[in-house]
């Protein structure tokens, strides 16, 4: 038994991560082939509530400029592209994802991970983020490409639900997208195939949701922020494919084993926190270590629900493929839900995932996430009494990461949490005596 446990532990990094590397490698190769040999057509899309199922059904290649931008940042090669965009007139204060991507797009589109193909269709799934509209408007102008704004009405009703008219509007637009894709590929949509893809998305959603439920365990088997990002790329790029299903089967099995063995990402789990906001890609490791040092594990994160929110029960429905794609885009992702719905999402995380604290990582680039996070802090500290830390940096631009300052703030926060814990433990011990 002991031997098995040791083996499982030592191959942990191997399984899920290796599979992810291999599959994403294939995905990037496919992009490169399209770019360099004209093999396949690319559809540009955005992550938030993406309708990747439709694109897969036409064998088109989903390309997410956000993923390209974050890869550049993670590989510490974004800054020259950002600077190039700023030379062209983009402001210091514009979202740096866009700037990095524009800088890349206007060059030879070669990156350390892939050559990015030009788009055959620029599909702006406007799900929440207003910057999306301008980002794709700009790309379309730069390459004189075909642009379709797939307009997703924001959740604004007090019920927190889309109206029947919202759903009809989105379904009708999806039908228009299908027509465009049919023209692009010269093929009629194979409806049975779409249903099969949507059914795989449903399976994927089920497994992803179970994976996320596992972090309710103490200790949490993985970090729901820093490790979730490994699972997010397959969720967006491979959802609906066989590879996608296989990846999540592997990941789920692996995480369940970790729960059984009672192991987590750190030698000891001392604090459980919820984290809100996108990660600082250029300094992910450094940032992670600032929490690891305190034995702090993220047990849930809003960022991992940008592309879709499955842990509260949503599943795609193969019997109603377009309606369920519409539901996913309208309601089941964090970006199209209003700010107060995000408060409630976090509140559920704090309560149901048994967290000690909330950390808000406020990034300058992404005002969709950050604008108003001071009010969020107010709500959690004053109304709910949840210890909350707000720190600022950026998700793409390395110039906005101040290591010493972040470290001081995080240390001070966990020091005080630790102090509170000790006082409480002391009181409890005293009370029992």
């Amino acid at each position: 038994m002991a031997e098995v446990a040791v083996a499982a532990k030592s191959t942990y990094q191997g399984q899920m991560h290796l599979l992810q590397k291999e599959m994403m490698g294939r995905y990037f190769e496919r992009m490169t082939r399209a770019a360099e040999q004209g093999d396949g057509k690319a559809v540009y899309m955005l992550i938030s509530g993406n309708p990747v199922e439709l694109i897969q059904a036409f064998d088109l290649i989903p390309v997410y400029p956000e993923i390209d931008a974050l890869q550049l940042a993670a590989k510490k090669s974004a800054l020259p592209f950002i600077l190039k965009a700023e030379e062209l007139g983009y402001s210091m204060d514009n979202c740096a994802y866009v700037k990095a991507d524009v800088g890349l797009f206007l060059g030879d589109r070669k990156t350390p991970f892939a050559t990015i193909p030009l788009p055959s269709l620029i599909l702006c799934n406007y799900v929440g983020c207003n910057v999306y509209l301008q980002w794709f408007e700009h790309l379309a102008e730069y390459c004189n490409g075909q642009l379709y704004n797939l307009d997703i009405p924001f959740l604004r009703d007090p019920s927190g639900q889309p109206s029947p008219e919202d759903i009809t509007y989105v379904v009708r637009q999806l039908e228009e997208v299908i027509e465009i894709c049919e023209k692009l590929t010269g093929k009629k949509l194979d409806y049975a195939r779409l249903k099969q893809i949507v059914s795989r998305s449903s399976e994927t959603g089920e497994m992803w949701s179970r994976i996320k439920g596992l972090t309710k365990n103490i200790p949490s088997p993985f970090d729901a922020y820093f490790d979730s990002v490994t699972m997010m790329a397959p969720l967006y790029c491979l959802r609906g494919t066989e590879d996608g299903v296989r990846f999540f089967e592997t990941a789920l099995k692996e995480m369940e084993e970790k729960v059984k063995m009672g192991t987590g990402p750190l030698p000891e789990e001392r604090f459980r926190f919820i984290i809100e906001g996108p990660p600082p890609w250029p300094y992910l490791r450094t940032f992670r270590d600032m929490f690891a040092k305190w034995g702090a594990v993220a047990v849930a994160s809003t960022y991992s629900t940008v592309g879709g929110l499955w842990e509260f029960g949503f599943r795609h429905d193969a019997n109603h493929p377009l309606e369920s794609i519409a539901q996913h885009m309208l309601q089941w992702n964090v970006t199209n839900r209003n700010f107060l719905q995000r408060y409630q999402q976090i509140r559920r995380y704090v309560e149901e995932w048994h967290a000690d604290a909330l950390v808000i990582h406020s990034v300058k680039s992404c005002r969709l996430f950050s604008a108003g996070q001071g009010d969020m802090r107010e709500y959690f500290t004053k109304e709910l009494n949840v210890p909350t830390l707000l720190v600022e940096s950026d998700l793409e631009d390395p110039r906005y990461f101040s290591e010493a300052q972040l470290k001081n703030r995080i240390d001070a926060f966990f020091e005080s949490l630790e102090h509170k814990k000790m006082v409480r433990a002391g009181a409890e011990a005293g009370g029992a005596a």
């Binding site: 207003n130 704004n149 637009q173």
Partner: protein, 385 residues
């Protein structure tokens, strides 16, 4: 009879001091009248008006309000108007409103709507999702449904049904207001020496704060006087101004820009209160007409993304139609829609060899020397080229 000069200077002072005071005073004189604030850029004000309430432009707090609370809710990298609007609320300066409406212009404004909901439970906070797909044949139906939803909400707040007749009357009234504003702007285009940007701004801005019939009466009195003016043109360059569609530049800044040596022939300031290029038809289904006007008759702006024609083409058309010599981009600091637009504008303007200058401003700014100097240098370079 008050002269137009007296009128403008009286209102200018009030606008500089506290831009919402005119509406707050109105409420005090009409305590039973309900008022609904409209955050920029656009609002279908006709719907509010037809339910018997007064739509009021909540378009920032000017530069005399100290931001003491709102900056702990919204970070340093968020534009001024978001913070000043929240500050107004947190310091009880919006208590004269019964409701407020935000819409999908940008991410900070959208989140502000939610923050308002949480912090001011007594205020009815509405949110409009304006469609950004201008090409789908289904968009109009969507927007009609959205306006119906909104209408129902305003009927509830006012306790009054919105009949077709009432809506037709409101549309006709605002058509008249917009027509007079177009006349006002025509004076600036044709004889900018006869109407300064600030005068034009004051006459337009009060229309966001007074009942439309009162504003119409003011404009009817002012316009003939303005038409009679016969000033000698100064040696200034003619420009069009772009980028101030939401947060408003301080009045002193507008003054400064002109006296630094230019005539601003056209601008997009307060664009949401004159957002239709023509009258909206009143017959048949007025609500549908109103929705259709957004899709097919409304002016372009940094927050409306119409894939049918590039935005920069609109700007260049405007430039050519007015006969301006240069473009002045005046964007609010941290305003992503305006700052993103600038990248495309710059490219298009350079392609057409149209001289331009880009400046950033903040509603709360006090010192204008730098902006003035930049404009002066720009003007000099153009005059002595």
């Amino acid at each position: 009879m008050t002269t137009v000069e007296n009128l403008i200077s009286r209102y200018r002072e009030s606008l500089e001091d506290a831009p919402l005071q005119i509406a707050a005073d109105y409420k005090q004189q009409h305590p039973h009248q309900k008022l609904v604030g409209c955050y920029p850029v656009y609002t279908p004000v006709e719907l509010i008006h037809a339910s018997g309430m007064l739509p009021v432009g909540v378009i920032g707090a000017g530069n005399r309000l100290e931001i003491a609370h709102a900056d702990s809710r919204f970070q340093s990298f968020v534009c001024s108007i978001v913070k000043s609007t929240l500050e107004l609320g947190l310091t009880d300066k919006l208590n004269f409103l019964d409701g407020i409406v935000f819409h999908s212009i940008c991410d900070p404004a959208r989140n502000l709507g939610s923050v308002f909901k949480r912090n001011f439970p007594n205020l009815m906070v509405e949110y409009i999702h304006f469609p950004q797909n201008m090409t789908s044949t289904h968009t109009l139906d969507y927007l009609v449904a959205e306006y119906r939803r909104l209408a129902a909400s305003y009927e509830q707040l006012s306790g009054k049904k919105i009949t077709d007749e009432a809506l037709q009357n409101s549309i006709a009234l605002y058509n008249e207001q917009r027509r007079l504003l177009r006349e006002l702007y025509a004076i600036r285009r044709e004889t900018p020496q006869n109407l300064s940007t600030v005068e034009c701004y004051v006459l337009t801005r009060i229309g966001t704060l007074l009942p439309p019939d009162e504003h119409i009466a003011i404009l009817r009195e002012a316009l003939p006087q303005l038409h009679r003016r016969d000033e000698k043109p100064k040696d200034r360059i003619k420009v069009v101004l772009e980028g101030s569609f939401c947060e408003q530049p301080p009045i002193e800044l507008l003054d400064g820009l002109e006296s630094a040596g230019c005539y601003i022939l056209d601008d997009d300031i307060l664009t949401g209160w004159r957002w239709f290029t023509d009258d909206i038809p009143v017959d048949n289904d007025p609500l549908r007409n109103l929705a259709d006007a957004y899709l097919n008759q409304s002016v372009y702006s940094g927050v409306k993304h119409d894939t049918r024609e590039p935005k920069s083409k609109h700007l260049i058309d405007k430039f050519k139609e007015t006969g301006a010599a240069a473009v002045l981009i005046l964007a609010a600091k941290f305003c992503e829609p305006a700052l993103f637009d600038y990248a495309l504008y710059k490219r298009a303007l350079e392609k057409e060899s149209i001289p331009h200058l880009c400046l950033e401003f903040e509603e709360k700014m006090w010192i204008f020397d730098k902006a003035r100097t930049e404009v002066e240098t720009f003007v000099e370079s153009m005059l002595f080229d």
